[in-house]
Symmetry: C2
DNA sequence: GAGTGGTCTAGACCACTTC
DNA sequence: AAGTGGTCTAGACCACTCT
């Protein structure tokens, strides 16, 4: 683990623990932090830059570095983004059910999103996820078998991402998402217990590995009353 | 304008113009780029880092820097994010109508989001926006008069953001967004021409200046069939 | 082994904020 | 004037990929 990452983790924990809550929520100046963490100023900047990107701190040139005021009470949630930049507001006991798990010839539209050839073999996975035994998302996922190999039911019951990163040792790097609202369909009525006038939040995602290859295309439909997505973005 | 920003703009333009489309979409190595742009390696890295954050390029350690394959055809759209990290997929002639424009005592819940005191004066703005004369979003905005001063109808007809940045010279830095689907309400039926079973995509936003102050709280409700949001995020 | 990106340093100068 | 963050440098060493 690089030094700037260790420093980032350490300072983030201090902020969460309220160690910098005095003096207008101000952090020590960069030079002092450098001395404390025994690093150069560039390395400290790299650590602090990550916190800025996450919306945890902000800097005022000529003034100092400050913790961002988090308006809502749920600080933990606001600080707890998942790997792709979104956090979920739902908490409870999670479980999932696999509706379909197969290898298919990749349809044309999906092949173009995954940058593979039409009819290349892909896993097709359909899952329902539950919170406290209530369904909240219907998820259709496609992954090229040439990249993600050896999937089975056991892995699907747990975390596919963990399998990819820890067993296959393929580093995940980024994701493109499109979010939209939609009327619910027959599938949504039955799988998500929705009635006709209740909408869904649909998320279309393409996820990439560090080597630039798309390894996942997914469409997920969330119950409108059980899910929201948060995002923080900084101008550069 | 800092050097790394100039280099970033320049390389971004080259990519858009297809100047790096040969050799597997590979860019020259960093040292060569440093020589060409007459800068240090750290500065070049800073420029390239911005392109990585935007999902325009990716790097393979020990291999090179490559342009990200953009699966859909609309390259321009994918490269043309707005200041808060989202881009819109709708195009056409834009216009807007102001439904309400007043100064009010700030309600408690909104004051807590803007980090101001209850009953502090805030502008309240309600606008409908149209594309090709079709309504697509109903937008309620609150701004503290202590920060954003001198708003009038002329400014509202144009761009509030332009007014803030160019006339008031207040640098905008970041925004927090929450996205959710919702059933349409009476207001939506009338202002967005929606029927009862048609949903909306609701976006709640708090926007911040460089000095860390929240200057805008807004709720906007978009027609489900006219709007979607895209986002790109990188693991760090 | 050659080439590439990833990290880190020690110091310099600048621009901005506050007193 | 003092203190702070913003930018930039020239070079070092490492880890990874490909042949």
């Amino acid at each position: 683990m690089p030094k700037y990452k260790i420093i980032y983790d350490s300072i983030k924990n201090r902020i969460i623990n309220g160690e910098y809550n005095k003096n207008n929520n101000q952090l020590p100046d960069e030079i002092s932090l450098c001395k404390e963490f025994n690093c150069s100023r560039m390395t400290m900047k790299k650590a602090l830059d990550l916190l800025v990107l996450e919306g945890i701190i902000f800097r005022k040139a000529g003034h100092g570095t400050f913790i961002m005021e988090i308006p809502s009470k749920n600080k933990i949630n606001a600080l707890d983004n998942d790997l792709t930049g979104f956090s979920k507001t739902v908490t409870g006991k999670a479980s999932s059910k696999i509706i379909d798990f197969n290898i298919i010839f990749c349809p044309k539209e999906i092949a173009s999103k995954l940058n593979i050839k039409e009819n290349d073999p892909v896993y097709k996975i359909i899952r329902i996820r539950y919170i406290d035994n209530n369904p909240f998302v219907y998820e259709k996922t496609f992954m090229p078998t040439s990249i993600i190999d050896g999937l089975n039911m056991d892995i699907l019951e747990g975390s596919i991402y963990k399998y990819i990163e820890e067993i296959l040792k393929l580093p995940i790097s980024s994701a493109k998402k499109i979010l939209r609202a939609d009327k619910s369909s027959e599938l949504d009525y039955s799988y998500l217990d929705l009635s006709k006038d209740e909408p869904v939040l649909e998320v279309e995602q393409i996820a990439y590995l560090k080597n630039g290859k798309a390894f996942e295309y997914s469409i997920s439909r969330h119950r409108y009353d059980k899910f929201e997505f948060t995002s923080f973005s900084v101008k550069h």
